[in-house]
Symmetry: C2
Subunit: 271 residues, 2 copies
Amino acid sequence: MQRTVFFISDSTGITAETIGNSILAQFEGVQFDKHRLPFTDSAHKAEAAALRIKTNYAQSGQRPIVVNTMAERALCDIVAASGALMLDVFAPFIGPLEEELATKRSGAVNRSHGMVDYAKYEARINATNYALSHDDGMDVDYSQADLILVGVSRSGKTPTCLYMALHYGVSAANYPLTDEDLEKLELPVRLRPYRDRLFGLTIDPQRLAQIREQRRAGSRYATLKQCRWELEQADRLMRQAGIPSLNTTHVSIEEIASKIFDRFGIERTMF
Amino acid sequence: MQRTVFFISDSTGITAETIGNSILAQFEGVQFDKHRLPFTDSAHKAEAAALRIKTNYAQSGQRPIVVNTMAERALCDIVAASGALMLDVFAPFIGPLEEELATKRSGAVNRSHGMVDYAKYEARINATNYALSHDDGMDVDYSQADLILVGVSRSGKTPTCLYMALHYGVSAANYPLTDEDLEKLELPVRLRPYRDRLFGLTIDPQRLAQIREQRRAGSRYATLKQCRWELEQADRLMRQAGIPSLNTTHVSIEEIASKIFDRFGIERTMF
């Protein structure tokens, strides 16, 4: 079974997409063909969207699903006239909140992604620059790091650091364990003062070999044997040094970041 | 007026936080003190959360607000017993969807952030690596770029490229306009074959000077005069070369990315 879904918004559509994906993932038997219609903020654009949805309905014979975060009632009505199933993301929550807070909403929907708070923006950018300049483990001063990810090459350290920086303003450095570290089974001297900020990433050897093979096909670096050795040594080193770790094989970047924050008691909210 | 908000989830809490922030932003007069309670996936953890919420209620005298994406009814009940206003993110949408799709939800809530699709993961990682290795404009081959961001130093190119890569798997390169480019008012030779993939980022000179001052205090690079000159020349160059552009001063990274995708007709959905 396949259904077409439109994420429609008068702004970026990120909220519509995030909640839409979470809801749709709960219907495992259905294939969803997803489309974004961001910046639908005028009658003209709403009519174009409605036409597109209506055409899809006529061609597929299946009622499309619309996940909607547009604020203006008039625009919602235009889109609803397409005959789609309308899921209004905000509607169910505004009433209870208005009552609880004894105040009317100000109508500035999607502000969270559309407005810039300079202080927060700077925290994101500074943390991103931090992650970029503390990425390779070479000649790096870790004293300013909120945390330091440790692991073998291609275990997911860099994207995790960048994600934590971009979305949470967390300054995360990363240290790739070298063959020398792995042979000696010793925590590099430079990391020792920051033991309580270290977190290890591990991964299944088969998966690591697959990732490395994509990057350097046919290399020793990508052999299962080499991957297995590195991971076993890394595991041993982390256990000896008392570094908490997470196997990232079946875990998304978002979930890795959340679990690390959880472990360190970092409660920072998203930007 | 201040209210405490808890984002509670049996997984990362990203969906709860995203929709929660969007809803709360619509109540401009209220200050929200936000807390995350991710991975609340057992009765034990739900009880700990409920205690914390209840304590907050008793101490503040204000009813806390809970934005909830936990799946299990029993866990929701435990938290609801704290007396907080419960906003259940999924509840309003499951019924209409079950009816429309004539199928019951499978209960795998928050799958969207908790499950790894290797192909998508690789697309994210490959695009992130692409962005990292095509970031400085030096000696770079642009033939594989989905798009190329052009602008003066510190106009927001790097974080935007990283965001588009991490969340959409879009391979975005970036080219920082040099003084030589700006003096000659000519598109660099290497960019010319890719004219239809170029997008310019601009920024207000005051804001740029502020950002640069943070980075290199007291430098000529950070003076308002230098920023103004660079931005004027960059504007001229982009207009002459027919490069679309966006002023990023009051725009979040998310919105910059969405607007660029919109301009290029890129309809890719988030990972």
